[in-house]
Every structure is written in C-alpha cells, then in structure tokens.
C-alpha cells in the first residue's frame, strides 16, 4: 500500500456524556497528536469505554466536540466515522461467525464497492475487488501473527488469537486512527508482549495514531507517548507516562493500587 500521509490530529474538546442522572464523562478534553500512541487510563467505571463509544460514534455526547482534522465526528453515524479512517476494537471480543478471513474482509467493507447486484451476478469487477482485498487481508493477518489461522473459524481460536482477530480486523480498515479498548486484557505475559510488539510495529510501519485504553500499566508505560487519566468521568491528569506516574492526583486515584501490575 502507498505510504500514508500523516493522520490528522484527533481533538476531543469538552465532551460530556450524561445517562439519565449519571455523568459518565464530564468536560473531557485531550488531543491525540498525529502518529502518536495516546493512552487513556483510569479505574473501572472512570468512563474510558464511554469515551471510546463517543469517538467511534456509538454514543452522541450531551456536549462537546470531537474533530478529526476538519471533520466533526460527533454528528456522524458510526459507519461514516469508519469511512474517515477511525477503527476500533472492543473490550469484550466482538467477532462474527465464520473464519478469520471473513472477519478481516468485514474490515475491508468501507474500502470496497461491490453491492448487492454485483455480488449476486458475480460480476468480474466484484470478484477482482474481492481477490485484491483478500490478498491485503492476508498480509495484515501475517503482520498480526494470524497467518496460520487465516482460514480457520474464529470460534475455534484461543482467546489471545481472537483478540488479535479484532486488532487485525480494525487494521483492515487501513485506519488513520486506531482505537484499542484493552487489547491485552485477559492475555498471558507472552501474548501481551507479542501484542505490544504488534502495536509498535504497525504504528511504525503504517504511521497511524493509536488511542489505547488499558489497565496494564507496564504496557501503557512502554507504548504510550502521552497519557490521559480519567477518574469518575473527569480528566484528572495529562502528560508523558513519567509525568503521570509522579502526579499525586493520579497516585491517589489509580496507580496507588495498581503498581503491582507493573511486573507484567
């Protein structure tokens, strides 16, 4: 694929999400600089997943704006946001039935054209398109270490591999911004290292911005260029991993109880 231009900055400004009486996000702002890894951390229930759902268009915020370059994302439906090059994974694995190839090809949906008529009549154009996208999907499977499982049903894969299928599917969108919701949750140490390696590689190779929600502090400290800490829906700290690690507010809210995980 052609070398992608630097992705535009993702700018989150004053985002507030209110569910009935509950304030899930309260005036949260941060900016993901082009080509960086930006981690969003915080205790359970701090609003990290809500934040992701706003970024990918599943929730509409009560107030605030999310801009990707010149595009205002809060007014767009999820599939339009995907077409702009924002891809995400889910905290609990959400794959569809079928093989790894089927799942990765779903990731190519926004990049391909063939509609119902072309598919039904098996027009040569549609078949050519499918072949080309299948080849690219296979490349991405190799890149994420799924090459050997490409034609295997997802349901038969191990937990770690299924997590990787989600990552690969998101990559198949050729995203400019990749949102990873706890990419290593539930993985063992070796799998964590491998996923961290993959994230580092794809960022170097594809030059995309990554927004990372993760509980594994070791991974966050190793991968992230910048960290935003959420607590009870508010952004309580910003900075480099080292700055955040020393921030007393953060220690109180979060790291004080989580430093034990650093070993991972």
């Amino acid at each position: 694929m052609t070398a992608p231009a630097a992705p535009p900055a993702l700018d989150v400004r004053g985002v507030t999400v209110r569910f009935a009486g509950l304030l899930a996000l309260d005036d949260v702002s941060f900016t993901v600089a082009p080509g960086t890894v930006h981690a969003v951390i915080g205790p359970n229930g701090a609003g990290k997943s809500t934040c992701f759902n706003v970024l990918s268009g599943l929730y509409r915020p009560t107030a605030g704006s999310v801009r990707l370059g010149a595009a205002e994302l809060t007014r767009l439906a999820p599939h339009r946001i995907a077409a702009l090059g924002v891809a995400r994974t889910f905290q609990n694995i959400v794959t569809t039935r079928g093989t790894v190839a089927d799942n990765l090809m779903l990731g190519r949906h926004a990049l391909s054209r063939a509609g119902f008529a072309a598919g039904a009549l098996r027009l040569p154009g549609a078949r050519r398109e499918q072949r080309a996208h299948l080849a690219r999907a296979r490349e991405i499977a190799e890149l994420t270490g799924l090459g050997a499982h490409f034609d295997a049903p997802v349901a038969l894969l191990s937990y770690g591999d299924r997590k990787r299928v989600e990552l690969a599917r998101a990559l198949c969108l050729e995203p400019r911004v990749l949102l990873l919701d706890e990419p290593v949750a539930g993985m063992n140490a070796a799998e964590r290292l491998r996923t961290a390696e993959v994230v580092r590689e794809i960022r170097a190779e594809l030059g995309l911005s990554v927004v990372l929600v993760e509980h594994d502090m070791g991974l966050v400290m190793r991968l992230a260029d910048e960290v935003t800490v959420l607590d009870f829906g508010r952004a309580v700290a910003h900075g480099t991993p080292d700055e955040v690690r020393r921030d007393p507010e953060v220690l109180r809210a979060y790291l004080g109880t989580a430093t034990g995980e650093d070993a991972a």
Binding site: S49, T50, N53, S56, G57, L58, Y59, A77, P78, H79, I81, A82, A83, A87, R88, F90, N92, I93, V94, T95, T96, R97, G98, T99, D102, M105, L106, G107, R108, H109, A110, S112, A114, G115, F116, A118, G119, A120, L121, R122, A126, E129, Q130, A148, H149, F150, D151, A152, P153, V154, A155, L156, R169, L173
Partner: protein, 384 residues
C-alpha cells in the same frame, strides 16, 4: 490438468445433481413433477427468506404477502383485465414489483430489528389478504384469477399449442414447467450464493452477529437492513410467479399467514443462513403433505382424504409431522439439515483420511483439517 481435476472434484456433486434434475422428467409422471415444481418454487422463496431471517437475522412473517405480490403481479400484468404484456416481460416486472413493495416497507424494515420486524410484517399479510379479497377488478376477488401461461419466443409453458415429444416422452405442462422452474431455481442458487459469499453477505452476517461491530466496521446498518428486505421480497416475488404458473389459478386464501409460517419452518428445518439448507427445508415442507395425501391409504393412523371417520387427515398429519420436525431440529440440530449434513461430511472425512491427500491438488491441507467442526458458537452482541 490438475486444475480441471480439482474443479471437477469441487463441482462434481453439483453437476451430478443438476444432470439428475434435468433427466427426471423423462422418468417421473406428472404427480412427482408437480411435487418437484412446487418444491422448486418454495425453495426460491425459502432462499429469499433465509437471506433475510437466517443471514441478516431479521424475522419476517410477511413473506406470503410478497409471494402474493409476485403471483398476482404476474397474473395482472400478463392477463386480461390488465395491460396484457408479454408473459416473459410480466415475469420480470412482477419480480421488480415485489422488490418495490419491499422497498416501500423499507422505512420500517431498515429501522426495526429482529423479532420486532416479525410483528410489523404481520400487518402486511392481513393487509394483503384484505386487498386481494376486495380489489376485484385486479385480483378477481375471492375466486381469484386464472394464470396466463408463460410464453417465450412462441414456446408455451403449458399443455396447449403444438404437442412436443422429446426422446419418446410427450412434453406436457408439467415437463415444460419443470425446466422453467429448474432454470429459475438455478438463477436463485447462483445469485444467492454469490451474494452470501461477497461483500453484502458478510455485511449482513455482521449485522446479525453484532450490529455494533458491523457499524464501526463501516456497514450502513439501515441501508443493509432494507436492502436485505428488498432482495428477499424479490426472491419471494419470483417464487410467487412460479407458484402461480404451477397452480394455473391464484386464490387469496393461499397467501395467508400459514404460508408465511410454512416458509419459516422451511428455513428453520433446513438450517438458517444456508442456501442448500433452505432448499432442503423447502422440499421437505412442500413434499410432505403431498406425499401423505397420495399414500394416505397405506399409512397407519392416517385417514384417506374425505373419509371423515374422525381420524387424522393427511394434511393435518403432515402438519403434526413437520411440527415435530421443527421441535426435533431446535432440540437436537439447531443448525438444521444443513448442519447435520456438514457434520456427517466432517465425520466421513475424519474416518477416511484420504490416502493420497497431499497429492490431490491445491487443497488447503494441514490448516483445514481441524476446521470442519461446526462453528455454532455465536459471537455475543456487544452492549456498550
């Protein structure tokens, strides 16, 4: 050379089945051909419903309505009173008309999900039935209308016209319609499988398994839901036309809610989400009552039609049977006949590890071997 061999191996069963189906009219009498004809029409409709309910996960109880649109659309367009178009044109227009009717319903079909769509489509059946009964000038009211035979380039698909004898077998209406049905079914098979394997099919599967995942992967949820509904209606319309041609008369009472339920039974028995499964289910549900009626006198516990001595008639008996079949399928084989066949195939393959397997052409060997087990484990819906 080996390419040709592997192609034959892959396509062999399909080719054999096609040849067999083409040869049948030379050996079977009109009764069996009629069963086949109704089965083919039902299979076309069932493939359409399978696409909507099995693949896209959208329940529809309105299938009978779209069958009626196709059937009556053809009769009106080709008949008198009506524009009296050439029947072949009327056939195509009737299919498009059914699609358009589905499209008119798309504001609902695109937004309403799963079982709720089932309730919404229920209204269509009652509405349709009422219109069929009251719009006399178009539909012929309660008594229905007779169906103008299909003619294609001077060749009529009915018993009229110059007699035709092929290889010593006189070709009457059934024989001729058999080949028409076979052609239409082949078109259905080809297009539906192309759809399911391509980009639209994957999008529909994703919608069924997780709407959230589908939408963040770029699938326009409402548009794909409506498109699935329209395509399903078009297959129903085609099935309706073939049914009308086979019955030679269309009456409103046929297109009732029970017909919609029959089609649901077909795709459940056959296995959701598969073209072959829908076909098998359609043959089962269609042929069973006809066979039971024919052989009622030889079956225990079943009375001959019209004997009226208080025991079960063949139609009721077949309903009990396929009711039992649905329960059995849901309990023991949730993926239907298609799933059973696939598991049987997998078991055969495991028992007989082909001696020359590695040399048998470009077969994905090692990676594919543990793959044949079923994948019924369903991905969970993500609830954000």
């Amino acid at each position: 050379m080996s390419d040709l061999r592997s192609l034959l191996l892959r396509r062999g069963p399909l080719l054999a089945a096609a040849l067999l189906l083409c040869a049948l009219p030379f050996y079977l009498d009109a009764f069996w051909l009629r069963i086949g004809l109704f089965s083919m029409a039902a299979a076309i409709g069932a493939v359409g419903l399978g696409l909507l309910s099995g693949t896209a996960g959208q329940l529809s109880l309105g299938h009978a309505f779209f069958l009626a649109v196709g059937a009556y659309g053809y009769v009106w367009l080709a008949g008198e009173p009506g524009p009296g178009l050439p029947p072949a044109v009327a056939l195509v227009l009737a299919v498009l008309l059914a699609g358009a009717a589905g499209g008119l319903f798309s504001p609902v079909a695109g937004r309403v999900k799963g079982i709720y769509l089932g309730v919404a489509t229920l209204a269509l059946v009652f509405l349709g039935h009422h219109v069929l009964l009251t719009a006399d000038s178009v539909t012929g009211g309660f008594n229905g209308r007779s169906v103008p035979p299909l003619e294609l380039g001077g060749f009529a698909f009915d018993g009229s016209g110059p007699g035709l004898t092929v290889l010593g077998v006189p070709f009457g209406a059934e024989e001729r319609l058999w080949y028409l049905g076979l052609t239409l079914f082949a078109v259905t098979w080809f297009t539906a499988r192309g759809l399911l394997r391509g980009r639209p099919g994957r999008a529909l599967v994703a919608l069924r398994d997780s709407e959230t995942a589908a939408s963040v992967m770029g699938v326009h949820v409402a548009r794909y839901r409506s498109a699935a509904f329209v395509v399903s209606s078009m297959y129903a319309g085609l099935a309706g036309v073939l049914l009308a041609l086979s019955f030679r008369r269309v009456v409103p009472d046929y297109f009732s809610l029970a017909l919609s339920v029959d089609y649901l039974a077909m795709i459940v028995i056959g296995g959701l989400g598969s073209v072959a499964g829908a076909t098998a289910g359609a043959v089962f549900v269609t042929a069973l009552p006809l066979l039971m009626t024919r052989y009622a006198d030889q079956l225990p516990l079943v009375a001959a039609p019209g004997s009226g001595d208080g025991s079960i008639g063949p139609t009721e008996a077949s309903r009990y049977l396929y009711g039992a079949a649905i329960v059995a399928v849901l309990l023991f084989a949730p993926d239907g006949l298609h799933g059973l066949a696939r598991r049987a195939r997998a078991r055969l393959r495991r028992r007989a590890p082909a001696p020359g397997a590695p040399g048998a052409g470009p077969v994905p060997s090692a990676a594919a071997s543990p793959v044949t087990t079923d994948t019924t484990a369903r991905a969970k819906e993500h609830t954000p």
